[in-house]
Symmetry: D3
Subunit: 296 residues, 6 copies
């Protein structure tokens, strides 16, 4: 069960409206690597965690913080839109700067939300559950979390360079810091899973004997770049082998004859040139055609 | 530019049809962590890679291999559907095993694809570009790749336990091996990015002075679990600090007064009980009501 | 900012696994009227509420409760899947009841979530932000809330009739009760908005003079059913007028001539039969054709 | 079965092109509360209505009108785009007002539709069937309808304030009027369902004895705002009780041990600090690691 | 403007319930090539048609018929679900045939629609506007229409083979006939567009001089199949030339150096082996690392 | 299996950055008729083709080329974004032309892709698998292909008119040429399918005797336009018959009584005015109401 306090985790008010920036901030709210994603990813991972203890607690602590980050950014969006020229008409567009601002705004923030944030990204695509994962395998999930926080901090850093407003910058400085912590914690938790003997570097920690022993250590060189083998991945302890111009192992990618009741195009007979035998078939066709016409 | 050979990278034919399994295999084709995802993720990362050399070549080599994995699995689906009871009618459903098989099939594999694979997951949701990322920051991207291969191998391993067919199992053994290699290679490439001095563990390698120095090393304990601080993340070199029951830093999450032209509900006046002053307002309301009625 | 306690708001454990039902429960988690929807709808409405006080507090209280409802149902799903035949193979499908259960399961709960819940509905479609609304106009929003809780209780009641498990039924009895409360509270809050003079029955409380006075009280009878006018909506105070077989008011729905640079099909000239003049055009066509051929 | 007349239900032509506004109008065509939504919602509700008579006729009359509203707005969009600078090149962008207009246009209206409307919202997201509901329960559905018309009129009113063009304004005045009628009719139809004894205020009219009697009249105060209990919802006949800082009723939100065949992270043993026992496990790990290496 | 009659365009009632088939029928309602698609595609094409006359009238006639086809199939679904075991519980699942039927049903038809049809396909994916096109170029659009009717009749024919119910078959016989007519009419309309001199076979009828004259008549043989050149497309009047193993024309697919403010991974310097110079960089890295640590 | 060469199929570099155009180009990458669509459509059709030989080879040759077209356009986007004002702040927006450019840019190309292309269309909607079809019936599929290439060339032609940059124009000239070839080849392949006797003009080549013989040659005139019958489709060999103002053939579109366990609104009794009998019902209602109240 959850509880809420009205106070924001962190707060710094923007000095002035910036509706074009309010649109961009949507990416951090409802984008694939926005706060809705980390909130839902950590919540579902926490609920799906099968061991009580430190990992589950870390997940629920962080998930709960992230709900508050959506709150911070949604509040920021509303404040950036205060006084925005939402209802400026075509006449006003004669002022070019104003026209440009209107062109760069998210029209739905005005039309749908009345000057507020939306559960969508900077291009208006609604957030969806396909962005997140909670597999029950903590190593797979923590790797996804470390990646999510990396992209989260990266996008925050890019947005940091798109504003001069001290209040917005202060908020993003807080978010950058949180993304630093969260990257560290998931990287450390990955190490801990291994130290605790719960997982080993390859996910899942199973089926190593069953997997194909010929092809579990080779990189297939299928592009003509020649630098791939120069990486240290081909060296040291447990090196990967780089195959240059490898040959396929299987036969042609043929699909079986179709179920006649599903009307796939098919002929079992081919002539010498590799094309279907048209004579016999076209005879049959003429009959069909006649029949079709007859029916009208 | 790409070239194609008709031969499959690897091939093992199923011994018998299994349409229920053909549906499940869709997850590895068009799911969030299926072959379409890794294909497109590596292609866009490769094209978006700003340095010629080993990283770009590794990306393009692997991307090119993954296209062939979609091919392998799409071919496998068509073969698993050969002889499937796609057009069995309600009468046939009197045989319970057949009825169950029909119930568990993907109806679109018959109706849309005529007994073939679809660009969708095991629940029929079409693959979409929101699953992938290509940021230009290789560390952020390789972390996402290592996570994707972890989930890919995890899902393959789960599916491996859902079949007894030797041909299917052999194919999945190949895929498990490839997912092992690809996990290793992205983990090694992450190390190499750091060894080359291109990136440091926290993404992006920037804004460390700008980020909030008070909050870049603390984990906020916002759930009542007590085990979170017991993890080694609070110990050793560069430990994270666990805050127990921390207080919010900001004020209330208030949104500004709305733009009157957008008709948000608003009253600047509140009575002692924290509710809006209804007397003055309801007088205004009566007038409005009269006016509304008058119009009809 | 939010806080979390590990204890569930309400809990009753299922007596036995029921993986087919676990799939159906997904509708209450990630469906259009599931718990993710009410959580996000109330959160965004609360953050977008422009008046401090009772309305905002009611929104945030209820939103916070709903996060815990996702938690309850996600936990229930994991428990219903305990011991589910997730990895049963095609051989096992020879047992018809088991085969049927496998056919009716959500394959993603096993393949993706490892035996847990997903942020998706009962057909596997991921939850998305397009389901919710937070307009800043509280009357419009509370009406949507009352509708959401009505559909929520309706779907819960339908699911209540699809199980005999006492633990599941007890949980749904709790949810039915909460949906009753929440319906009542939004209906009462709608009355209160009017009592407070903040809104009147028609949303928004504006533009009554500007709207078309001829057409703001008529129902257009455009289907041939004759019972529409028999409803009390045509009677009493402020009756609506039912137009029988009304005529359209405008001219033909014509689109203007297209921009030639966009290559829409167009001819300004028509012959007597209402078709384009083919002679002149086909002359031009012959020239074009010659030119096209020439180029190869 | 349907019939069509070429004449628009209502028509007023725009005085001049306004491509930026043409983009915004898409919200009323293909947005969540646009004309496509009410068309499809009322059609499916009408077809799914189980009683012949006034309710079904009202649904079909209104549904049929709404198809014509899509027609009106699609025609309006084409007219607003007449003469729009769709193919203006980067050079032309040196004129700032023109540049701003191009930036604010919907590029797909030119590239895909050749200067016409799209079945999408103002941010280009295609309309989808997840926006609508038709449950067979008329009270639940009519509440959704009253909400939809409220949001429809609200968005129309907001768009009304974003234009000065008399033709556009006249069309929106017609639409405002129709949304007024439709709000009234659904509100009246809700009353009629109750007057006819078909439904009572809580949906569905069932399971009142089965629902949890302890929790069907309490509002849980889970946010720290203190104004929630001040609303009249806690007063009068059938008051709701406001619980201040209520305690959760259930135990911890624990998930069961995972199916080993699905490879969730799990250890049944924990040491005193609440962490997993690492010694025994890490021994096992070393073995696994050796085995993995051996295979290459 | 539209009008509706309560009578179905065609009607044949199913003899008995068949809920598994009711799910499959959803493909013809809300699938990519279902009735919602042709309805919306023809409506938007009609409204976007820039010439009054026969083409526009044909579009509007057909569009209007298709709305009635959704009606026919939605009604059929409700009738097929009459008496369906929607609320059968886990106990009942002991009967294997019933269990199988429940497994094969669309759970949303019961939970959301109360035993009716949904605006979604046979896998529950909601219909969306991305399925349709209305470009203003009638040849491009009519080709899409001829394709849509081909897939529509194909899917109908497949579904025809999945039922023995005379009422369902009679309805599909009607639909098959309509799909035959509609295929014919769009094929004939394509011929007419050319006969009228409005379009020529290649869409759009423009830019033939501007397009690349070297590459507008060659097929690039990029797969190793040898039968491609055997088709008649390489023969006769206006033959296409088949290039065997053609070479790429451009240079490497390099992306430019990234904007430093966006933090893409980049180094301008590479050592002899094609890898980045690590010495200089790693020195810089050490400094950064120290700085990062210092901050905590 | 696939192979990749680093060289682009064709290359012409843009002379200068044009970020607004880079957004528009997304339509050709990830739009419904962009390169991702034709790539995936041809790949799945090729893999799903049931006959070895010329058709399958043509599909795989073309599919393989199209992957390279995504590569060309993704590279072009990165180059058009070189030097784009991605991180320009609100201050800079005082320059109106720059402000307009920022407003017209795709914010995700900077925030997510770091100055690169996305797997999405010009409005930011991610590409999805619902755009494509691969039915196994080659005539149905080739018709979809001919339509796709028509829309592809149409959209390319429109974009050709939106730029003056010689490098961009040269690339589009190449693409226009390829779209010309591909239109021709699918049109020729359609003829060949018929010449080979594999298919006849109506898809599928089956069920001509079963389809409704009364309704397989009539166009229903359901709109009041009078020009529909003037088309040549009503003339010549195998003419279609135009029905003027045809009557529906079926009875009312009634749905059966609902399953009581699903709580649809229903009353079997109606009074003389076609409305439900309210007296008896409202008595029952009073009882219910009392009961509901009693419970609190």
């Amino acid at each position: 069960m959850f509880r809420h306090t009205k106070r924001l985790q962190f707060e710094a008010k923007p000095e002035r409206p910036d509706p074009v920036y309010a649109r961009k901030l949507q990416e951090l709210i409802g984008g694939a690597y926005g706060e809705m994603s980390v909130t839902m990813q950590y919540l579902f991972q926490g609920w799906n965690c099968r061991m009580e203890g430190k990992y589950k607690d870390l997940l629920m602590d962080t998930a709960t913080e992230e709900i508050g980050h959506i709150e911070m950014l949604a509040t920021m969006v509303a404040r950036l839109l205060e006084g925005a020229p939402a209802t400026m008409t075509a006449e006003a567009v004669q002022d070019p700067v104003m026209a440009a601002i209107i062109g760069g705004m998210d029209p739905q923030q005005a039309i749908i939300a009345g000057g507020g944030a939306l559960p969508a990204n900077s291009q208006g695509v609604p957030w969806n559950g396909g962005y997140i994962v909670a597999s029950g395998n903590l190593l797979a999930d923590f790797r996804a979390n470390a990646a999510a926080e990396a992209h989260g901090r990266l996008q925050t850093a890019r947005l940091y360079n798109m504003t001069d407003d001290p209040g917005v910058k202060a908020t993003l400085q807080f978010n950058l810091a949180r993304d630093t912590v969260h990257q560290k914690q998931w990287l450390k938790a990955i190490e801990e899973l291994e130290a605790d003997g719960l997982e080993t570097p390859i996910v899942p920690n199973a089926l190593f004997d069953e997997e194909d022993q010929e092809h579990n250590h080779t990189i297939w060189g299928l592009s003509d770049g020649t630098d791939g083998p120069k990486g240290d991945w081909t060296k040291g302890d447990d090196p990967l082998e780089y195959l240059t111009d490898p040959e396929p192992l299987g036969g042609p990618a043929s699909a079986p004859a179709p179920d006649p009741a599903l009307f796939g195009t098919y002929s079992p007979v081919q002539d010498l040139k590799g094309t279907v035998k048209s004579q016999a078939k076209s005879a049959a066709q003429k009959v069909t055609k006649k029949k079709t016409k007859k029916k009208k």
